[in-house]
Symmetry: C2
């Protein structure tokens, strides 16, 4: 609950009780509302069935619901079936704990021991924070980790201690180099978060134009994807999410620059950590992934006493840019997510595509848990965020 | 000389004596050849005239010539007049030395004391290397620094010790946020370099589609710039380098992703260091800049014994991508620069636009030094690199 409330408070809102949802105009029939508590209950029931301990179940459900709450649907409940399937196959171990292979005052090399990504990530960032509090910086790399979802979840943990957090992960190869028609690297993600008094800078981005979760979301929502997100098998842009998902070929953001940035992330997360990297990470979900991740915490107090005021002023400089189109304000990274959180608070529920809800009915049947109960059938999802 | 040779050796080539240049076909008359030793002699003569000590003069001339040798013309001799002008105005101090404000085992906060960027950068990276050798990582931030040229110069210094180097700098606001028509942030640069046995990964990029040096180079070379590099005063794309230089408005690489990455760089280099940042950095060259920079060295030996082999394998994975166009190989970052170095070695001289050479004739007159002597008038510059 605390983790769910925290980001809301940062953005000046807060989650209220999850009673009857506010009615929204019916413009499309593809999305239904599920109360936040009900989504959390469903995730917890499923995880308990595959043998995850109660304390971990609470953490994982919070982590998935917060991603949906922030509008990061690609890393929310959408990922639950991957986690369930990997836990059942033994590719992720339900109650494993990470361990430290080696460390210095400022660094650590961690073995995730095939625990779920959020378990490894929380462990590593907490370790990085401790190191930063004594050495100014904490740099932790993990091997034998799993899909860790929304990267900013971990960067937030550093921010909660008044530090800056920088988090990266590698992933299965879904992205093409410019002039290539095969995926050799993941659309590896990067998050940088830091908090001032009035402003928050919450960057959470994939190095592709859009991540694979956004394509899956479009597929679940029965929507086309814009040109320039993904390619077909010949390396040409496609608007069909099913074609894009068949043999994922995402375009890098900014051409070779996004590709190179992704390679730097893989060099640090995969090559340096001892995890898999590049084409060695299996796309096939029948094999364990052994992902690598990097967690950096940085204590601004070791450098400047007035960092918070300077950060607020910096954010003001960005927001005061002259708008080319006056109806579109210049936004800081994380502002759109803040707007989505406000939207969820107004609805008091999460909007999920019906195709996704149908998929989880099958999962519920298979695991013998109660399916997610709808709060309000068919609503407008305001996908324009 | 050593610094100039080193990158050549990394790429499997070496600089041979600078005698008569190899004749190249005459296709355009805008570029002339200058022997490497002659370019170095000219830079040193100019710097001596404005009071720089002999040891610093050698370092700065090497640093500028290496940038041109690697084809990074925006940060080569092109920058000499900025340095001369700032030294004469007192915005950069000819013989100042950086000092440490505070430090831990793994971090340092450095005051550049308005020394030239290369003096501050060399000091900071050497400090980061020392810290990395004992703590696994060295993280050094500098304030009161100056334009530091080619970022990979400093990352190379870490690589020369078997470490990985990551370097960033902020810069005067020349880049627009998406939907903006004013520049609020620099096209801040990032370099990451690491060396395997067979491969080298040498990333050196600006966060804009192209940096301002490339626009200046096009202007000096009397060339148009492609659409999408820079905008006119209304925020619309322009092909005219003089319009693009009037009130620099560069487009970020990958839209908001490049912009956000640049903001992260400014948060670390400017906001955290106590230097200027965002719109506080003067575009006007009549004011001192007070730039901020970050230098990170990372010792892979603290994490894995076989990092070098894994890095070579990673580079192989990238190079083995399936080509969409078979005539265009998939290149690693730094390979194009390697090709340019080979080209310079074949010519045994550096190709400079005649407009740039004309500008330095004026500088030579003003400072009473011998102008650069041409090795070969009018050559093909092979700008396709």
């Amino acid at each position: 609950m605390l983790a769910l409330l925290r980001p809301a408070l940062w953005f000046g809102g807060c989650l209220r009780g999850y009673h009857m949802p506010v009615a929204t105009p019916l413009q499309q029939g593809d999305t239904s509302l599920v109360l936040v508590d009900e989504a959390r209950r469903f995730i917890q029931d499923c995880l308990m069935r595959v043998g995850v301990s109660p304390s971990k179940v609470r953490c994982i459900s919070e982590f998935l619901v917060v991603a949906d709450y922030r509008g990061n649907f690609g890393n929310g409940i959408n990922r639950l079936d991957l986690y369930l399937s990997d836990l059942q196959k033994g590719h992720a171990k339900a109650n494993a704990e990470p361990s430290i292979i080696s460390e210095t005052l400022a660094t650590a090399h961690v073995n995730g021991n095939s625990a779920l990504g959020v378990v490894v990530g929380n462990f590593c960032m907490d370790l990085a924070v401790k190191k930063a509090q004594s050495a100014g910086i904490g740099f932790v790399v993990a091997q034998q980790s799993h899909h860790f979802g929304m990267a900013s979840w971990y960067a937030f943990r550093a921010v909660a201690h008044g530090l800056a957090g920088l988090v990266m992960s590698n992933s299965a190869p879904t992205m093409m180099a410019p002039n290539s028609k095969s995926a050799t690297i993941g659309a590896n993600c990067l998050s940088f978060c830091v908090k001032g008094r009035d402003h928050h800078f919450v960057l959470d981005m994939a190095t592709s134009v859009k991540d694979i979760g956004a394509v899956e979301w479009a597929w679940n929502n029965d929507e086309y994807i814009p040109h320039g997100w993904a390619a077909n098998e010949r390396g040409l842009s496609t608007c069909l999410p099913n074609v894009a998902l068949r043999s994922p070929l995402l375009f890098p953001a900014g051409g070779h620059k996004g590709y190179c940035l992704s390679a730097v992330i893989d060099l640090l997360c995969g090559v340096l950590s001892g995890a898999q990297y590049a084409t060695h990470i299996p796309l096939d979900q029948n094999q364990p992934s052994n992902l690598g991740q990097v967690f950096i915490a940085l204590d601004p107090g070791f450098f400047l006493p007035d960092f918070v005021e300077r950060l607020d002023d910096f954010c003001g400089c960005i927001q005061n840019s002259q708008q080319a189109d006056e109806s579109e304000p210049i936004r800081l990274p994380g502002e759109l997510e803040g707007m989505h959180m406000k939207y969820v608070e107004d609805l008091r529920a999460l909007p999920y595509p019906n195709t996704l809800l149908e998929k989880y009915k099958t999962v519920a049947d298979r695991l013998h848990v109660k399916p997610m109960e709808l709060a309000f059938e068919r609503c407008q999802s305001r996908k324009s965020f």
